[in-house]
C-alpha cells in the first residue's frame, strides 16, 4: 500500500514536471502587458540585431526551424506555437527565463526586449499591434528622471530621482535604482540595487578599482528597476569614478616571439657578428684564390 502511494506520488510528480516543461505558465497579471512604444521598421531592425546577438544561438533563424536540440526544445520563434503567446507572455519569458533558457533581465533593457518582440511579430501575419498610450506609460503618471553626480571627496556616486507631474517637481522616494558600468560586451553591476531616501537620493560607492580610461572615466547607466511604476527611466553619464588606466600594448617588449624589429638586442648582435665574421673570412679566402691565379699568371709570363 505504501509502495503504491509512493508510486502515485512519484508519477504525479513526474507528470507535473513534464507538464511544467512543456507549458510555461505566465502569471495572469503579467500576461496583458503592452509595449511602451509603437513597433516600427526601426524597432524591428534593432530587434533583429538583438535577436542575432542573444537568441539565435539557441533558437536559430526564425522560420528555418534550426533551433538547438535542447530539453525542452527552444522552438522556432516563427512557429504557430510560439506566436500564440501574447506580447506580455513573450516579454515575461524573455525577462525571467527558465532552465535552460537564461533570464535576460540583467542583459537587455526592457525596450530592447520589446524590440526583439517587434522583430518576432514581423513573422506573424495575423498580429494586431497594441501599445500603451503615452499617458498610461507608467503608474506614476508623470516624467521621471535620474541625475548622476560624482561626490569626489566622499568617493561616492549620487543618483537623484526626480519626477515632474502636473508641472510640479518632486523628489521620488523608495524607488530602486540600479547602477551599471558599460563594458565591451555588456554592462557590469556597479553595486547592489538600492532604494532612494526621502530626498530621492541614493548613494553608491564609486567602483574605484574598476579600470576606466586614462582619466578613470567610466560610462555609467543608472536605471529604475520598477518600470511598471515609473516607466523606462535611465541616465547615461561618463564620470571619472574608476581607476585611471593606460592600456599597454602586448607587443612593446623585445622578445623571442616578437617581430625582427623587436628581437632581443643580444641576439641581433651575436647573429650579425657571427655571420659577418664567417663570411668575411670566406671572402678573404676567395681573394686569396685570386692571388694564387695572379702568381700563376706571373710565373707563366716569366717562362714566356
Amino acid at each position: 500500500m505504501r509502495k503504491l502511494i509512493i508510486f502515485l506520488l512519484l508519477t504525479t510528480g513526474f507528470c507535473i514536471h513534464v507538464s511544467a516543461q512543456s507549458e510555461w505558465i505566465v502569471p495572469q497579471e503579467r500576461k496583458g502587458r503592452l509595449s511602451s512604444f509603437e513597433f516600427s521598421d526601426e524597432s524591428r531592425a534593432k530587434g533583429l540585431d538583438h535577436y542575432n546577438k542573444n537568441c539565435a544561438s539557441c533558437h536559430g533563424q526564425p522560420g528555418a526551424a534550426n533551433y538547438q536540440n535542447l530539453v525542452p526544445p527552444p522552438g522556432d520563434p516563427a512557429s504557430a506555437d510560439f506566436l500564440m503567446n501574447l506580447d506580455g507572455e513573450m516579454f515575461y519569458k524573455v525577462m525571467e527565463g527558465r532552465d535552460p533558457m537564461p533570464s535576460f533581465k540583467s542583459v537587455l533593457t526592457q525596450d530592447e526586449i520589446w524590440e526583439i518582440i517587434s522583430y518576432i511579430r514581423s513573422y506573424d501575419p495575423n498580429y494586431v499591434h497594441a501599445f500603451l498610450p503615452t499617458a498610461e506609460k507608467s503608474a506614476y503618471g508623470g516624467i521621471v528622471s535620474i541625475t548622476l553626480t560624482h561626490l569626489k571627496e566622499a568617493g561616492k556616486i549620487e543618483a537623484k530621482v526626480t519626477g515632474v507631474k502636473n508641472g510640479i517637481i518632486e523628489n521620488i522616494a523608495g524607488a530602486e535604482v540600479v547602477l551599471r558600468v558599460k563594458r565591451t560586451f555588456g554592462s557590469l553591476l556597479a553595486g547592489e540595487p538600492m532604494e532612494t531616501n526621502q530626498n530621492g537620493i541614493v548613494v553608491f560607492n564609486e567602483p574605484s578599482d574598476l579600470p576606466g580610461n586614462k582619466d578613470g572615466l567610466l560610462e555609467l547607466t543608472a536605471q529604475l528597476t520598477n518600470q511598471d511604476a515609473y516607466g523606462i527611466t535611465r541616465a547615461d553619464t561618463a564620470l571619472a569614478v574608476g581607476k585611471p588606466f593606460e592600456a599597454v600594448s602586448l607587443t612593446v617588449e623585445r622578445a623571442m616571439w616578437n617581430t625582427v624589429r623587436k628581437a632581443p638586442i643580444w641576439l641581433l648582435i651575436t647573429f650579425s657578428l657571427a655571420v659577418f665574421l664567417a663570411w668575411a673570412t670566406i671572402f678573404y679566402i676567395l681573394h686569396q684564390l685570386k692571388k694564387i691565379t695572379d702568381i700563376g699568371k706571373n710565373v707563366v709570363e716569366e717562362w714566356d
Binding site: A45, K53, N54, S57, C58, Q68, L70, P100, P102, S103, F104, S106, V107, L108, V181, R183, T184, F185, G186, S187, L188, L189, L210, P211, F245, A247, S249, L250, T251, A255, M256, W257, N258, T259, V260
Partner: protein
C-alpha cells in the same frame, strides 16, 4: 688590337640602323597612343550612354547598416585593399587585451562551439581550431570535458620559432596566422604544447567554391583557407572588430564561455550575456591556466569543474582515442 678596330665599323652602321628603327618604333608608339586615346574616349561615351539607358535604382546596405537606394549608373565596383586587411589584421585592436574564461563545471560536450567555429572558418569535422577534450587529471579524480581553443599565450612558443613572421602576436594579445605568408614548415605545431594548431594537409573543404567565387583573404578570419598552410583559432578577430564575441562563445548553449577585455576587468558570458568582474570570477572560482609550468602565459583561463551541472563523462572516454568522422 685588330679585332677591336674591325669591330668599330659595323658598330657605326648598327647605331644608324638602330636609330632609324627607333624612329619607326616611336612613330608606331604615337599612332598607337592616339588610337588608344580615341578608343578610350569613344568607349567612355558608349559606357555613359549605355549606363544612362538603365537609370533604375538599386537598394544597397551601407556600412552603418542603413538601406539606401542608389541609381544603378552611379555604382562603382568596390574592392577592399588586401594590404589594408593585412595591416589592420596584424596591428590588432588598440587598448585591448582579450581574455577568455572557460567554466568547466558547465561543459557537457555539446560541441556547439566546435561546430560554430568550423562553419565560420570553413573546416572539416576533424579539423579543429577548438576541440573539446575528455580529461582526467588523476586516477581517482572525476573526468571532465574541456573545450580547448588556442591559448593565445603572452609568451607564445609557436610565434618564437616561426621563420617568416607568418604567425604573430598582436597588441591585443591575439596570436594570428597569415596563410599568405606561411611556408608550411610546421615548426609552430611542434612548438605548441597545447596541440592547438592544425595544418591543411589537403585542399580545404571549400576549395572549389573559393575557385568559382573570388573572396579577399581576411587574416582575421583566415579564409579562404589554403592547402599547405597552418590554420588556428583566431579568437574570432573579425567578430571582435565588430564588437561581438567569438563564434564559439556565443554558440555555447551551456554558458561555458566568458569573453572580455582584461583591460576592462570584465568578461561577458556568451550564452547568458551576463557581465562579471574578471578578477572576481577568477578569484572566487579558483581560476587557473593550462600548464603554467611552461611559462607560456595563456590568455585563456579555466574554472575547475566544481558543482558541475552535468554528470561527469565516463572514465573510458579519457586518454587517446579516435572517432569516425567523414
Amino acid at each position: 688590337m685588330s679585332d677591336e678596330s674591325s669591330n668599330k665599323v659595323p658598330n657605326n652602321q648598327n647605331t644608324n640602323s638602330r636609330k632609324s628603327r627607333r624612329d619607326f618604333l616611336k612613330s608606331i608608339g604615337y599612332t598607337g597612343a592616339a588610337i588608344a586615346a580615341g578608343g578610350a574616349a569613344i568607349y567612355t561615351g558608349y559606357r555613359y550612354e549605355h549606363a544612362k539607358g538603365k537609370s533604375g535604382m538599386v537598394t544597397v546596405l551601407t556600412n552603418d547598416n542603413r538601406l539606401v537606394q542608389v541609381p544603378i549608373d552611379q555604382i562603382h565596383e568596390f574592392k577592399p585593399d588586401p594590404h589594408a586587411l593585412q595591416k589592420r589584421g596584424r596591428q590588432g585592436l588598440e587598448g585591448r587585451r582579450w581574455v577568455m574564461v572557460i567554466d568547466l563545471a558547465k561543459c557537457r560536450n555539446a560541441r556547439k562551439c566546435v561546430e560554430a567555429c568550423q562553419s565560420a572558418h570553413h573546416l572539416r569535422p576533424h579539423e579543429y581550431h577548438i576541440n573539446t577534450l575528455i580529461m582526467q587529471d588523476a586516477p581517482n579524480t572525476a573526468p571532465y570535458y574541456m573545450p580547448k581553443p588556442c591559448q593565445h599565450c603572452d609568451n607564445p612558443p609557436c610565434v618564437s620559432v616561426c621563420p617568416v613572421d607568418a604567425t604573430f602576436k598582436r597588441q591585443d594579445g591575439i596570436v594570428l596566422i597569415d596563410n599568405e605568408r606561411c611556408i608550411g614548415c610546421r615548426f609552430c605545431m611542434a612548438a605548441c604544447p597545447y596541440s592547438a594548431r592544425m595544418f591543411h594537409w589537403q585542399e580545404p573543404v571549400l576549395a572549389q567554391e573559393y575557385e568559382t567565387s573570388f573572396t579577399e583573404y581576411d587574416v582575421e578570419l583566415n579564409t579562404p583557407q589554403r592547402k599547405g598552410t597552418i590554420s588556428k583559432c583566431l579568437f574570432s578577430a573579425d567578430r571582435l572588430r565588430e564588437n561581438e564575441m567569438p563564434y564559439c562563445v556565443t554558440a555555447c548553449p551551456n554558458s561555458v564561455f566568458y569573453f572580455g577585455d582584461e583591460n576592462e576587468d570584465a568578461v561577458t558570458n556568451g550564452t547568458t550575456k551576463e557581465t562579471v568582474r574578471l578578477s572576481q570570477l577568477l578569484k572566487q572560482n579558483a581560476g587557473y591556466r593550462l600548464m603554467p609550468e611552461l611559462g607560456t602565459q595563456p590568455r585563456v583561463y579555466y574554472l575547475p569543474p566544481k558543482n558541475r551541472l552535468f554528470d561527469a563523462p565516463d572514465k573510458e572516454l579519457t586518454g587517446n582515442h579516435s572517432t569516425q568522422t567523414t
